[in-house]
């Protein structure tokens, strides 16, 4: 089995994070991991959902969508179908929860950060690329808030990134592309902080249940990959 970009099992695809790809949002990042390309934006709204009004706490929420032309054969628009599908809901809830996991909501104050992850091209790993890119877009937006003097510090608790890992043809591999993902026996998404703590773990047996030993080996792979993603995020952030 030859992996794309001649990768070893513990290697991720080439990564590119382009900040300020568009200028209207408070934060905007184009992230590319191999052929996967996601536009992540962060926009701040000076109000919170009803359940938080008067709580002095902020909120972070995320939406995710794939452009019709992002896939090999065209995917129908969810707006045209009149409803959002289950996979989309599942992903955007994951992205939102993950980002909330590293934001200090009290320090953010009563505002909402809207994260939008729009997949321009899909080749596997769009949900983890969304989280990794959205973290930087969120950082840019919160830095702008801080630069404007609206908050005394950037209310982010820790760095955070996400990557997929799985079992393909009996081998454990990092950062599956679409061709690997569609035939994987196990598919797992890991979201981890700069301290190596877990924010989210979602492992799914696709046809073959897995042992706790395999779970641990996959987490080792993911941890290595996430350390390198966080290093790349830090480089972008320092260059802002």
């Amino acid at each position: 089995m030859e992996r794309s970009y001649n990768r070893k099992n513990d290697e991720a695809r080439p990564l590119e994070i382009i900040p300020h790809f568009t200028s209207n949002p408070d934060g905007s990042v184009l992230i590319k991991t191999g052929e996967t390309m996601v536009l992540c934006t962060a926009m701040i709204e000076e109000k919170v959902p009803p359940f938080l009004r008067g709580s002095a706490s902020g909120w972070v929420t995320a939406e995710y969508s794939m452009l019709p032309g992002s896939t090999d054969s065209r995917s129908a628009r969810e707006s045209a179908r009149g409803k959002i599908g289950g996979r989309t809901y599942e992903i955007q809830r994951l992205v939102g929860r993950s980002l909330r996991g590293v934001v200090d909501m009290k320090a953010l104050g009563e505002r909402t950060v809207w994260i939008d992850c729009d997949v321009l091209q899909a080749d596997g790993g769009t949900r983890t690329a969304s989280i990794t890119g959205a973290f930087v877009a969120l950082y840019i937006a919160l830095k702008k808030l801080h630069d404007n003097g609206q908050i005394p510090a950037i209310p982010i608790i820790d760095h955070m990134a996400a990557i997929s890992v799985g079992a393909v043809n009996g081998e454990l591999v990092l950062d599956l592309d679409y061709s690997e993902d569609s035939g994987a026996e196990v598919d797992m998404n890991v979201v981890m902080t700069g301290q190596g703590l877990l924010v989210e773990v979602q492992g799914t047996a696709e046809g073959k249940a897995f042992s706790r030993q395999e779970l641990n080996a996959m987490l080792d792979l993911a941890q290595g990959g996430i350390e390198r993603l966080i290093a790349a995020q830090k480089t972008v952030i320092q260059g802002l």
Copy 2:
């Protein structure tokens, strides 16, 4: 912290599995775990979704819903709102994937098993109760198919059950009820087979990221709980 039913941290709530609660479906189970009560039904349809036609493979799919009166303050019907919410999608996709993980689709043949999990009362753990109850409803439906001579064997690969585990007030506990779940720092759902293999792991930090040591300790708790659930399922199945 006093737990409901005076439970220790590694104890699950009292369990009751009532087979044949209704008679129209091919399989029907009312499962109660503490105050949580879910009606799980399995119905067989002699066709498969388009992507499987002609494949000689079967399919298992699940839907999940909470009755408006299942919660303390009434939850609006998703049919009245005109769309299914993200949480519902997330859960029914989990239930469907979990059950598919233990069914031999080739042996099932070109038929679909529809699983419906309707929550009559909710007190935490409805998604894991749904999986545990649905496994038995699925078994009953497939046994009926076998008893009718339509399949040579019951196409179930292994037993399977699910339970929640989490961190509450800094302590790791098994089988959270609603009052525990709503304040938990970590919430994890584990689906495991009779062989102790993982079908699905979903761990989420709700405000505080967790270490890999904590992950392993929670998996230990879950494994003990699932062994006892599977023992209870076996008793019901033997009594059919």
Copy 3:
């Protein structure tokens, strides 16, 4: 023609009313009439719809749904289809109107009682069983309000129950089950008070128009059945 349970034409199916089937709602009843099984819940909300605000009057409203597994072959969920069907609307409007017919809205005060009738199993007569069961759930909820000292008396004007009657193979029969209902020439639902007054009459010719004499004979049958239903409701209520 043999009727189910060896019934004569003026006999209803065996009835069971189980109060407090679930504990979250203010009132909860599981009603079984033969194989038909409906969970009726009543929940009180301390506000009224916009058109009643400031009127010092309360409101009672009902929703009805059939679980996918309630019928012999699975009925698709209305939430999945994204809209409520005409039959559902027709039934829930009937249930709501009927209950409002015996409640003193001024004495209830500015609150809404939400009635939910969820059919766990369907074998004909689900709308009349819903009304009969919902009356008891409503009573329990209003009694609780009274027991809590929120209203000086239980604001129910009269007892009330409902039953179906019809013409099958040229004979007039009481309480049709599904096999009778699907071939009936006339189908009629009658809602009546403890005083023998009509709250709602809906008679429909299904292929053969009926005379006013037949209408009267069917009303006689219904009246007898409803008297026995009300007697059963009273027993339950006295045992609360």
Copy 4:
């Protein structure tokens, strides 16, 4: 109490039935009863719904809608709200059932008649005016089918019309206009054939239950009104 058009309690409003109001449909009638004005059209489609395919039977189905400008204060379009309301469903099901009650489906053959009742102006009694007008539109469409030689006879079993009756301020009155209807204690719609047989009876207590004596007195009123409506329909039909 002065009634509109100085009517006695047993008098209906002035009636006008204009056939061929539009020319595209197979049958088209504008019916006016007092200020209420409904455009009823009938269109024949040479196929039947799935459940009747191959049955050699036809089908009649109806849809009903109120134009936004039909009421005193504008009613929002159901297309703009994205869903049909419960009242609309209830009415169009009533119209469809009533018309099916007087059509010989075998003689119609495998075709569907689509009935559309669009209320141009509403002043009470729109559902009964819809039935009365739609009967004539249906007759015109079926006559055209017969004139074209597609069916050997017009497959209508009997004449049919509908009218409302009710209790207003303690008096029983025929053909309520909007101001009477909105304050009625009892509201009843009666659909009857030329032979005086009942096709549909729907009586509803709006705040005060009614006795069987009152039911009978209201049916007497309705019967007189329907005889005069059918006489008017016959005049129109003979003039075609």
Copy 5:
């Protein structure tokens, strides 16, 4: 090529404008241009959309719909399909913009005029007939406001009407009916004021692009037609 009503290329179809066709709306007009028949109503609401609150400006908005029976073969209701189609949106936006083009919003004051154009019969040119008829309905509604002393003058800046023009079989023609429209090479809708100024021009090549000379010739045709439409509108308005 023979045109309907033996028209020359620069002749429009026979026109009839019936004011006060219904009495509930503030303004109501039935307009007929040949076989095309549209009911246009105008209703005044004493509030404005959120973006205009506190602006001391009014608003005019329009909705458009075709009755199912308006076309030769039945068109499904948009309410039944659960959404409004693109063509409907396009037309109702055009009608609204056109009317807003001749209303002095400051003089109207903070109120909304709701225009509804419901096509009772369609034979080409429904959108231009809607604009021409709606102008008169709008005028009647605003005159009523003025007659009631709510505004010091009727806030209409200029007369306005609309007509279609196009290229059919290589010839430029005015006021296309359906049979012409469905085969036209160019289809253009022109909205013009009493002063001969343009409010809206929408020209579309349907298979064959057109030159600026052709555009000008079509505008000449349209201008002649609109002058005659405005003359007819004036006659109706003077007769109010």
Copy 6:
């Protein structure tokens, strides 16, 4: 009045057309006109809509959407709202019609080209940028079809581009950005071929009707702009 980029009234904003921006679609172009940025993709499907089956003719259809982060304050997703808005429908119908105007449908054969225009950033002129960019994406997709030997020639009849023109503060200007567009008295979109023929003209008075002289002056401006756009498209196409 200073225009963005120090432009004269007859100057368009800087243009950039990046072909092959993504690789999954058959044709993909990122077009930038000033700050406006649209991703246009073309995907070929080997079937046609029902109304063209068996006609030996092809079809071109377009969809348009704005990403939530494309505007200054976030625009809600149409998928989340559950329906497509009127403006979107209007634009995507315009894009589709315009492209169909220059394609030889017989030469295309029974296939559909799906055009998707997704606005990554919006600063006025998104609909005309969509048409100009989509023309190139369409060309690339059809060239690929031709290069693969599936069609004997690229079935495009003529070049085509689109631009906006309008009246702002009494002056006629080319290529309005958002700040100009939001205060324009007249807004016009012009779609023209390489031969200088009109495919679509849509001129709208936003508050002030315009004369035929102004219309002609605006068309002159547009024609100049479109000639320069087509020259730029040709450079891109030659470089493929």
